[in-house]
């Protein structure tokens, strides 16, 4: 188990390295020039621009710049954000917890809905309730989140007044803090969790369908166990296996989806920072953000592998 863990972590390093090389190249090939951020409009002569370019180290060839960046990162220095003029990690770590809270909340929501709904769909296959859940999941997969988000705001916030439109907390919190936060997190959670909930529901349904046809399930029934026990105790654990792998795979989706959801719902997370960084060609911040999210994705798939072992005793590392 430990050996596996260490081997996987070592494997992750070259992967991370390749990811940084590719993105460094892409970021720098994109048109746009960050020096404009540093020079005021009336001082934009070529000499001034060149001076700033030199100060930022942008006058050197691409591969040298990459090596300088990598060297600094290995020493734990991610540089200073061009745009915010603050250390990259300070900017990111300030917003990361908010994104993680939202991602966790969306994950819990999607599992909490998808698993029971998938099971019911499988058991009641080809009945109206199965069609109902299938329709929900097809809609969920295809809804664009910016549109769906605005729709929820218009209906639940503006029309019904149940939830605040956007933000993470009230200016003056009345009552328990946790209740105040809950009010704000409900709508973004639904929008962010919707897509993965829908696909998980489909996975759950098909994997359950497969499992309930197995001999051991028939045996369990033959023993005279109640349908409920058969499903929850014997079938569910096996059926969950492919769904758990999804946990690792949804992390990129959550982080990517957060960019849009955070903007619509005014959520102060790293998705917002990522957008600002790329619009402003803030190279250090973009690279820092990328390191952070790709590490999260790699860790996510590692966690999924470990969860495999927990769910299925036949799998040993």
């Amino acid at each position: 188990m430990w050996k596996f863990l260490i081997r996987r972590l070592i494997q992750a390093l070259p992967l991370l390295l390749i990811v940084t090389i590719i993105t460094f190249i892409i970021i720098n090939l994109a048109p746009g020039d960050p020096v404009y951020m540093f020079v005021s409009p009336d001082q934009m002569d070529k000499a001034n621009l060149d001076l700033v370019r030199r100060e930022l180290g942008l006058d050197k060839p691409l591969h040298i710049r990459y090596l300088v960046w990598l060297g600094n990162v290995l020493r734990g220095d991610f540089g200073k954000s061009f745009f915010y003029q603050r250390p990259v990690m300070e900017v990111l770590l300030e917003s990361l917890p908010n994104t993680l809270v939202l991602a966790l909340s969306a994950t819990i929501f999607s599992f909490a809905v998808a698993i029971p709904a998938g099971i019911i769909s499988a058991i009641k296959r080809n009945t109206p309730i199965d069609y109902f859940f299938s329709t929900i999941s097809f809609i969920g997969v295809s809804l664009p989140s910016f549109w769906f988000g605005l729709l929820l705001i218009l209906f639940f916030s503006l029309r019904l007044g149940w939830f605040p439109t956007a933000g993470m907390q009230s200016l003056d919190v009345k009552g328990p803090v946790i209740l105040d936060r809950l009010k704000y997190i409900v709508l973004p959670t639904i929008v962010l969790g919707m897509g993965s909930m829908a696909s998980k529901m489909r996975y759950m349904r098909s994997s359950m369908l497969e499992v309930i046809r197995q001999d051991y399930v028939r045996t369990a029934r033959a023993k005279g166990l109640s349908g409920f026990v058969v499903i929850t105790k014997h079938a569910l654990r096996n059926a969950l296996l492919p769904v758990i792998t999804l946990l690792g795979l949804i992390i990129p989706g959550l982080v990517g989806g957060a960019v849009i959801v955070e903007s619509i719902f005014g959520w102060p997370g790293i998705g917002r920072i990522a957008i600002t960084a790329s619009f402003n060609r803030d190279y250090p911040l973009m690279m820092g953000n990328l390191m952070l999210t790709s590490t999260m994705v790699i860790l996510g798939s590692l966690i999924a592998d470990l969860l495999y072992a927990v769910a299925d005793p036949r799998i040993k590392y």
């Binding site: 746009g32 005021s40 218009l154 916030s157 005014g266 997370g269 600002t276």
Partner: protein
């Protein structure tokens, strides 16, 4: 007798103070729905509007504009310019307090403006004060600016909040002011004091009870970052927030909401077509004139901008003394357009598109993606030019690509762009032959060059006499009106929606919300 005169003075003071004190109602929080976060709160380092929206309420400038755009003393109780235009003397009011309780003195002003002028600080305002050679402080309340040459627009620069408390700003490395603690928690002298800034969430300002210009209305002035414009509008519609910027496309809808008042005023912003004066087809003045006649500006104003603006006439904004109403303008006239194109040698070909020396009249026109209004203008122009036999290849490009790969390198025949301009007569950035991306400036992207215009523009900056400036500006507009480096399309109005509970809101053209510190919530 003595006590009597004292009483009289007191009575007079009471009479003077009473109307103000009695009228100023207090209370409530102004909740401004925004969607972009400020960057840093050092008043002479910022260059973004989200930061300046906050700074105008935290800092009070030396001078201010009155509603007629006349410059009036503000934190300075008076100012004087020597007859030769080389010495500016400001007398500060006594008893103006910083939010930390210290009194504002001439030294604060000197230290602040010396920082702006210091190349090591790299303030975006540095060139504005290029003419200043020395700042002295003869006494606690007097600041003297010595100039090395006359600068006709320097006075206007003092209307933007600049001075900071010397004792605070000197704590920090002057080359790293953007990273300083001051940049996250500023100490000013304005009507509201800084309280809190949560990144991408909110900035909270609190009423400053010792503000020099009397009692302040709101308890708090809060900037709530709602993440996107759409959400900011909905939040205001719902009443969570009580002020929001309204884009042109939403003005009609927001105006129809009973709980809101939409205030509109003429902004110092305009959209224009920028012609490539070195372009193969567009270098011909007759072509630029002809195509200006081919555009129905009124259709753009009422059709695309839904009436939120006036047909564009000049870069000098109507309402300022520098706008020349008699300068050549181009009212919609297809006959003239066709005639000018014919004169220029472009004859209508077999497919309706004009041809000259075997070359089709095809223009490459661009604008930036994301501004729906400009995209629509480009579409309109494409169809309008077709009527006079000119084909347009239109492209809508991502902002950075647009700027660096096309506009800055002159890869266009014309582009649709938006500009904001100051209230001064200094328009070198638009027309000076050196104000090009490859030269000393950046706005003259069409590379317009006229030696006489250059001279006139320089003369405007070299005099402090407004009447003289206006005379010169009139001449500039006559020439550029004829030579058409720009075709002005629309002077846009700006709109803000306020909840009706926000009382005593006064907005003036070109100045916007004029009395934020005197408004209140009922």
């Amino acid at each position: 007798m003595k006590s009597k005169s004292l009483l009289a003075v007191l009575a007079l003071a009471a009479v003077l103070a009473a109307p103000l004190a009695a009228q100023q109602k207090q209370g409530g929080d102004l909740m401004f729905a925004t969607f972009s976060d400020p960057l840093y709160f050092v008043p002479f380092m910022h260059a973004d509007s989200a930061s300046s929206d906050v700074l105008v309420n935290v800092f009070a400038p030396l001078l201010n504009y009155d509603k007629n755009l006349k410059i009036i003393p503000w934190v300075a109780e008076s100012y004087q310019i020597s007859p030769d235009g080389l010495t500016y003397t400001f007398k500060l009011r006594k008893g103006v307090l910083w939010h930390n309780g210290e009194e504002m003195t001439s030294n604060d002003v000197k230290v602040s403006y010396d920082l702006i002028r210091d190349p090591a600080v790299n303030s975006p305002r540095r060139t504005v004060f290029e003419a200043v050679s020395e700042i002295t402080t003869p006494d606690r309340y007097t600041v003297v600016f010595k100039l090395s040459k006359v600068d006709g627009v320097l006075l206007n620069a003092f209307t933007t909040a600049y001075a900071v408390p010397a004792s605070e700003i000197q704590k920090y490395d002057k080359t790293k002011l953007k990273e300083s603690a001051f940049a996250r928690a500023p100490i000013g002298n304005g009507p509201f004091m800084f309280e809190e800034w949560l990144t991408n969430q909110r900035v909270v300002l609190k009423r400053f009870d010792k503000y020099f210009d009397g009692p302040v209305g709101f308890d708090r002035y809060v900037y709530l970052n709602k993440g996107s414009q759409a959400t900011a509008l909905v939040a205001t519609e719902k009443g969570e927030t009580n002020r929001v910027f309204v884009p042109e496309a939403e003005v009609a809808r927001m105006s129809a909401i009973p709980s809101l008042d939409v205030h509109r005023y003429v902004g110092n912003v305009f959209d224009a077509i920028i012609w490539n004066c070195k372009g193969e087809i567009t270098s011909d003045v007759r072509v630029r004139q002809a195509l200006s006649y081919a555009i129905n500006k009124q259709a753009i104003v009422s059709g695309i901008y839904k009436g939120n603006g006036r047909p564009g006439v000049s870069s000098f904004i109507p309402g300022t003394p520098f706008y020349n109403a008699k300068a050549p303008n181009y009212a919609y006239d297809l006959a003239k357009a066709k005639q000018l194109l014919d004169e220029a040698g472009w004859k209508v070909g077999p497919d309706g598109i004009r041809v000259k020396n075997g070359k089709r009249m095809k223009l490459f026109m661009i604008t930036n993606k994301g501004n729906i209004m400009r995209e629509k203008i480009l579409q309109y122009v494409q169809s309008a030019f077709k009527v006079v036999g000119v084909e347009v290849e239109a492209q809508i490009l991502e902002w950075n690509t647009f700027l660096t790969k096309y506009v800055e390198v002159g890869r266009f025949d014309a582009y649709v762009g938006g500009f904001s301009t100051g209230l001064t007569a200094d328009h070198q950035a638009f027309y000076h032959s050196e104000a090009t991306p490859s030269g000393k400036g950046y706005l003259n992207r069409g590379k317009y060059a006229n030696a006489e215009v250059d001279k006139l523009l320089e003369a405007i900056k070299a005099t402090a006499d407004t009447a003289k400036q206006a005379e010169l500006a009139f001449k500039v507009q006559e020439i550029v009106g004829r030579e058409v480096p720009y075709t002005f399309l629309i002077n846009r109005t700006q709109a803000y929606a306020y909840n009706k509970k926000v009382k005593n809101v006064i907005s003036y053209d070109l100045l916007g919300w004029y009395n934020a510190e005197k408004s209140y919530i009922e």
